[in-house]
């Protein structure tokens, strides 16, 4: 009886992981297909579709755009998130709880609503559809995330460290730069890499707010409109690989923090 339960639980675990990872495995496997259709039988391995992706200037420029938008918007989100977390943690503000709630609220609003809202706003303000507009959208969705991560790590035990620095003659900006930022570095990096990950494969906002120059997820969507081919698999695998790297970096910085 116990054996049956054990086998059943193994099967269940296998099914769960299979359900999660099979699509990715299939995607990556058929990106190595040698023939023109990403359907069985597998005819590879071959790197011809990766070659095709990398020689497609629309895809490569979209890839560069994505990297730019992701890194710049994440930098902005993490800077603003850090400053607001520091402000909330160190100063007594009127209505602090309410304001903190408001800053994290966008986490609960769907990207579609945020994207539409920004579209209307930018239209009214005369900001053209562009990578900049999409980048601002990404700051809107990632700032609450960075704020939440950094604020949660900003404990009272750092207050005395900052006080000590002030006591030894450091002006406020040096306290922030030489003490608070290095001490908070793990949370700051974690926020940055998580923002990068989310911005990197964000579709809805980029789709709504860009026109000619666009990001990789939007370009992939354009590609998919003309039907499946191993090239979409190849570019999808590349996106996936970058995401993995970012998530691993995020985990590493957060884990290092816990061990310290």
């Amino acid at each position: 009886m116990r054996r049956i339960v054990r086998i059943a639980s193994w099967l269940y675990a296998l099914a769960v992981y299979g359900f999660i990872f099979l699509p990715v495995v299939v995607l990556v496997l058929f990106s190595l297909q040698a023939t023109s259709f990403p359907i069985p039988p597998f005819t590879g391995p071959s790197l011809r579709w990766y070659d095709a992706v990398l020689s497609d200037t629309r895809l490569t420029s979209a890839l560069v755009n994505s990297l730019l938008v992701a890194s710049i918007s994440s930098l902005a989100a993490v800077t603003l998130g850090f400053l607001s977390a520091w402000g909330f943690a160190r100063f007594v503000l009127p209505g602090s709880g309410l304001l903190r709630g408001l800053i994290t609220l966008p986490l609960t609003v769907s990207y579609l609503i945020i994207g539409m809202g920004l579209l209307v706003l930018f239209n009214w303000a005369g900001v053209p559809k562009s990578l900049l507009a999409a980048g601002i959208g990404h700051v809107v969705i990632n700032l609450p995330l960075c704020f939440a991560i950094i604020y949660s790590q900003m404990g009272d035990h750092q207050i005395n460290i900052e006080r000590a620095a002030r006591d030894l003659g450091a002006p406020e900006w040096k306290v922030l730069l030489l003490i608070t930022v290095p001490v908070m570095a793990p949370a700051i990096f974690a926020g940055f890499f998580l923002s990068m990950t989310f911005s990197w494969d964000e579709f809805v906002i980029s789709f709504l707010l860009t026109r000619f120059d666009t990001t990789l997820p939007v370009e992939i969507w354009n590609l998919l409109r003309s039907g499946l081919n191993p090239k979409t698999n190849a570019v999808g695998s590349l996106v996936f690989a970058v995401s993995i790297v970012l998530v691993v970096l995020f985990e590493l910085t957060l884990l290092r923090r816990r061990r310290a």
């Binding site: 035990h157 005395n160 460290i161 006080r163 000590a164 620095a165 002030r166 006591d167 030894l168 003659g169 450091a170 002006p171 040096k174 003490i179 290095p182 001490v183 570095a185 310290a260």
Partner: protein
């Protein structure tokens, strides 16, 4: 008479509805070791924060070296603080920690590290220069914090319960070192603690605080021998306190009526008011061969052997609400349940008029 190094004038402080400092005035001499002693909530830490510039008092002024520092920020005043949790910068080496204050003053790198090494040598940690704070023990971190605060040569060094986080043995050892370091550098130290033994061991000037007020201040010997108030008689060492009323005064002597009988004191007191008579445990005599003042009979309720002496608690027969606290030699043969005569010498009685 030179001007005091630190002059606190009529300081009040409130946190919301709560008044934590009530009209505190205090002067501190250059080169002295001052202890602010009091239970938690007595306002001693708030007073230290006001000196350090982390808190601006609601009322009153603070002068340091004759300058009004009341609302000068910590960075700009000639004080440094050793925090209770040490507050070392975890991402910097010990050397950079100690050199931080000099770096903020714009001192160049080589002078900085030379001075930091010197300060570390002063606290006996010369070898820790390249280590990180987390590689050090609690006592060593404490010394680094001390070196970091001393290296910029403050006029006053403020220590917030610096020994609170250390175990007893290390605490006594660091206590001796603190005193030695203070004598060597000659900086005025102001040290907050709730440990009266620490206070007696370290202080040149002991300030006893309770409920936002200074109860008593002076050399620890004086504060112990002649406490000014009931609180300081019980907080700075233990005392048995007899409640009494002055009934008669003649020829520069007074009689005080107490629950254990009249007690004669060699001083002229106004007749009428209630007074307290405090007696230190080591001055109470239990047994027949007594002192000059009889304090009735008591039943021994508890005997605690403490190594070099026995701490004895005895309940008065005449007034069961009165408990005598006595200190007897370790060799004394006294058992719980014994009935003993209690007495003491007249000149060991401390008169409390508050």
């Amino acid at each position: 008479m030179t001007a005091p190094l630190v002059d606190i004038r009529a300081v009040w402080h409130r946190f919301g509805q709560q008044t934590v400092l009530k009209n505190v005035s205090l002067q501190i001499e250059p080169g002295s070791y001052t202890i602010l002693l009091g239970p938690s909530g007595s306002g001693k830490t708030t007073l230290l924060s006001i000196l350090g510039g982390f808190v601006t008092p609601s009322e009153g002024k603070v002068f340091i070296r004759g300058e009004d520092c009341t609302s000068v920020p910590p960075a700009k005043r000639p004080t440094t603080t050793v925090f209770q949790d040490y507050a070392l910068f975890p991402h910097m080496s010990v050397g950079s920690n100690v050199g931080f204050g000099l770096r903020m003053q714009g001192v160049d790198g080589s002078t900085r590290s030379a001075k930091a090494r010197e300060a570390l040598a002063l606290v006996g940690l010369a070898s820790a220069f390249d280590k990180k704070p987390h590689q050090l023990s609690g006592g060593q971190r404490q010394r680094v914090a001390l070196a970091r605060a001393l290296v910029i040569e403050p006029a006053v060094l403020l220590l917030d319960e610096p020994l609170g986080a250390l175990d007893l043995k290390l605490r006594r050892q660091m206590q001796d070192e603190l005193k030695a370091i203070q004598k060597r550098v000659g900086t005025a130290f102001i040290h907050v603690t709730h440990d009266q033994e620490e206070a007696m061991a370290l202080a040149d000037h002991c300030v006893v605080m309770n409920d936002g007020r200074i109860e008593d201040e002076g050399p620890p010997e004086r504060v112990y021998a002649r406490p000014a108030t009931r609180f300081s008689a019980t907080f700075m060492g233990e005392s048995t306190i007899l409640a009494g009323t002055v009934t008669e005064t003649k020829d520069r002597a007074s009689t005080v009526a107490t629950p254990v009988g009249p007690v004669c004191l060699p001083s002229a007191l106004p007749v009428g008011p209630a007074v307290g008579l405090a007696i230190r445990p080591e001055h109470l005599v239990l047994g027949a061969a007594g002192g000059g003042v009889r304090l009735g009979t008591a039943e021994v309720s508890d005997v605690v052997f403490q190594g070099s002496f026995k701490r004895v608690l005895a309940v008065s027969v005449e007034d069961p609400s009165l408990q005598f606290i006595a200190r007897l030699p370790a060799t004394a043969s006294v058992q719980p349940g014994d009935m003993v005569a209690v007495s003491c010498d007249t000149d060991q009685i401390i008169l409390l008029t508050d």
